[in-house]
Symmetry: C2
Subunit: 530 residues, 2 copies
């Protein structure tokens, strides 16, 4: 039996739809960083398919540029936040995640995280104001004929804009901390016994203590969310002019495009309007620039290692950079290192440093033996796509969790950024390159990724267009959205049953006692009479 699959699924939607669709209008709520990188291919494809894409972007955006030459229109709006405030908030979060958290106890982490989240929310609400209180822009949007709004729920108010405009809503999301948004607002079921809370670093296989901690993690995140969301509830109610809540508005999303798939994710229950489109940005490798190709080829049978800590980390301490350079100098592979900070003091000839890398093309190169990564979802998915084992040096947000996923699936070794030494890095690279199991597992994940009935990007585009065609996808929304939490868990019904059982038990006992007394009295009377 012989199978030939690759490149098939991709043909399907394009072959069928292209040329038969005349432009719809898509509105996009701003996102930042890797979220925006992941959304771009979707928007590009929508433009390819004849739609007009308008991106709402504010003037304090850190990573989006409304002057950028692209095929989307940008609708700029002014906000009362400065770029510096945004950057400071982000830097503080980085500082906390990368350096401070490790020295804190749980309560301190919780309080600090709450403070950071509250400040971030405050800034977000000021951004929301920039659009939602600008009658002129809102009027432009209202008359713009948009058929759908795309948003990442980590950037609040996208759902509010959709609700104000009365248009369907499609979310694109990697995760929220503890999956609070997906669970509490999207009604995504997550039994804590085998669904690890996002960023908890647990896998789906948990012992008693892990299950206990996972449950407590869920609860703590729920508490945090419900406390933080109060401000959003008030804001949403004010803007919509009726009592509502953040969660209610988010819960109206027609489709949730989740940026993972079962190659990466632990299998878990989900809902009909949750579509898993992880790795939609991945594509076959293109040829490398000539000098880079020459360097790669010069590696011979040892091959190369690709190393990047992502676009967020531009500088390392001198000590750290030297340590990394010394480690990389000890391995037989050639190393291609993306780094724009100060160059290490000594650099072995097997290492080349670049400001920017054609990462996907490098990971798809047959000479690539391993990927040293900070564990961002986009990079991890490129490694999965091309079947490359990883050494993870995770920093913040979902990165540690992402690497736990890859480690538990046998395709990665994890290092601690703060405590790793040169020998750890050397050992890790040698392990993932030398032990064939890592490559085998990586190829297995790659096979799962490629062997889907529809390519992730096509699926994402399909559901966005579905929502546009059908004015929403309300037939996919569970009725749980209309139940309170105690109704959802049948607690009122169970209380009623318990009450009824208690009452019946009580009456039964009373009757038994009565019968017993009557009989006993009779027999006593009888005895007396006798």
């Amino acid at each position: 039996m012989k199978w030939q699959l690759s490149g098939c699924a991709c043909l399907f939607l394009q072959a069928c739809f292209l040329g038969t669709i005349h432009g719809g209008k898509v509105l996009v709520w701003y996102t930042e960083g890797s979220h925006w990188i992941n959304l771009k291919p979707v928007l590009e494809t929508l433009v390819d398919r004849g739609h007009e894409v308008t991106v709402l972007v504010h003037n304090a955006s850190m990573f989006m540029d409304s002057r950028e030459t692209s095929r989307f229109s940008y609708q700029l709006f002014n906000v009362s936040v400065s770029l510096k405030e945004m950057t400071d908030s982000f830097e503080d979060f980085l500082q906390f995640s990368m350096y401070e958290m490790g020295h804190m106890n749980l309560l301190e982490i919780y309080i600090k995280f709450y403070q950071l989240a509250s400040r971030d929310l405050e800034l977000s609400l000021q951004i929301c104001n920039g659009l939602l209180r600008s009658e002129a822009i809102m009027e432009t949007l209202r008359t713009g004929g948009f058929q759908v709004l795309l948003a990442d729920p980590l950037f609040p108010c996208g759902e509010l804009v959709a609700e104000k405009l009365g248009i369907p809503l499609v979310f694109t999301l990697r995760l929220s901390f503890g999956n609070t948004v997906e669970r509490l607002c999207g009604q995504l079921p997550a039994p804590p016994s085998f669904v690890p809370a996002a960023v908890s670093k647990f896998t789906d296989q948990m012992g008693f203590v892990d299950r206990l901690l996972n449950l407590l993690f869920y609860w703590s995140q729920d508490l945090l969310a419900m406390t933080s969301w109060r401000d959003l509830d008030n804001y949403y109610s004010e803007i919509l002019g009726r009592p509502t809540s953040y969660c209610e508005t988010v819960g109206k999303a027609d489709i949730w495009l989740i940026r993972t798939y079962w190659d990466f994710e632990y299998p878990r229950p989900f809902l009909p309007n949750f579509k898993f489109v992880g790795g939609l940005h991945c594509k076959a490798a293109k040829p490398l620039p000539m000098d880079m190709e020459e360097f790669v080829q010069s590696s011979g049978n040892d091959g190369i290692v690709v190393f990047t800590l992502g676009s967020m980390i531009k500088n390392l301490t001198k000590e750290k950079a030297n340590m990394i350079a010394s480690a990389l100098g000890q391995i037989p592979q050639k190393v291609i290192w993306r780094y724009s900070g100060e160059q290490p003091e000594t650099l072995n000839s097997n290492i080349r440093i670049y400001d920017w890398l054609p990462q996907n093309d490098l990971l798809g190169h047959p000479k690539t033996k391993a990927f040293i990564t900070h564990g961002g979802t986009n990079g991890v998915y490129e490694a999965i796509y091309h079947g490359v084992p990883m050494v993870g040096i995770p920093m913040f947000a979902d990165q540690p969790d992402n690497m736990v996923h890859m480690h538990s699936k046998g395709v990665a070794v994890i290092l601690d950024f703060n405590f790793m030494e040169a020998k750890d890095l050397v050992e890790s690279i040698n392990t993932v390159v030398g032990d064939p199991l890592y490559k085998e597992n990586a190829l297995k994940l790659s096979r799962i990724h490629h062997d889907q009935p529809v390519k992730p990007l096509d699926q994402a585009v399909f559901w966005i267009e579905f929502v546009m065609r059908n004015k929403g996808a309300k037939h996919l929304l569970v009725h749980a959205h209309h139940l309170s939490w105690y109704q959802y868990h049948s607690l009122d019904v169970l209380a009623m049953l318990l009450a009824a059982a208690t009452l019946i038990g009580f009456l039964f006992l009373k009757i038994c006692r009565l019968c017993f007394r009557v009989c006993f009295r009779r027999s006593r009377t009888k005895n007396k009479n006798e």
Copy 2:
């Protein structure tokens, strides 16, 4: 904006896969009646795609015929059950569902159902014996090089044969009563607050009493299942030569192909290895036989009504047949009636009776205004596919539940087979034909059905082949399969937390009391001293 979608999804798999695959080997466990009808198109497609299909069928099968000329091989096995015993068991079930159940109280229904299910199980185990204790046939199968076994879990032992042969397992299933098999063995989550138990006749929108009854229905079915399955547990353990259970073996299924979709189903949580492929047997209508087409055309603007009670109901009482004929005689539409019993006494000229109908072609005919149906899933799906409103006269099994689905989605009126009168039938037909909302809703369901990224049949075939290509799909199985029920619901963790909270509360109270006593004693001593 203009969309053109139809006929696209279907192209995808066929265009990509055909001609590139060299035959695999597919084994099929026997099914009966409409289950078999629904499985056939899948098997036909597998043959089209170069696979060899071998169907295991026993010599007391009611609906499958191993001598039937088809493109599958049949592996016959002899069983110690007679065809008469099988037919009697089935007739008793029909009799109970259609005539007796209506006059029974809940307890009587429960007991009778248990008796019927037990007898059915007894027969099933004898059938299992026919294959599993035949060393010769098992040896043939072991050396047959099969890559997958397809089975409907309503016919036990398919999973056991797959386990014995050590090959992957794909289920095809409409439902089990109360979804016991899917929930208890497949780990399909089903919160009773918004997921109505199969055959409970509830929708997803339940008030307090409905939610209470739904929960009790789940529990009663669980109790029934766990009682009935004890024999299966023993049998499976005996055959496999190690302690196991029915549920454990069923839970190993790689893929569950569920024969519904969100056009029919209420949105609900599900799992990555549950694929909804409802209506996979539906296809575009072909032209009718000439005389039938002439009759249909003669209906003018009034159009036609298609009427069938399925292949199970061959005879009606004379009284019932006359009543139906009289009702059908009163409507302006022409009627095409599938019926092979004794002809009614008078038959208006607008009615034609046929032994067999090209049902799909009739439902897809532009003149068809309504479908009078017993509510079998296959027929209901053909009506959804072609967007035809329905009058449901459900009889047994999932039929009443199916019609509740269609009624709640606004495409059907339901009649009671036992109590309906001519005027009810006339009124119902007039309602679904006359009120444009029924047609509108039917077209909406049809649109949902057609607007999928992959056609149901292609999806079913894709996942069967996926399992063959990858020797299973274990990466889609939730870890819940390895948890006990109390671990799944975190009851051990909650008990531990409760115990800890109680202990802490108790210690806190003790300490408070101690402090209070010490202080109080001191102040008393002080007072005394003073």
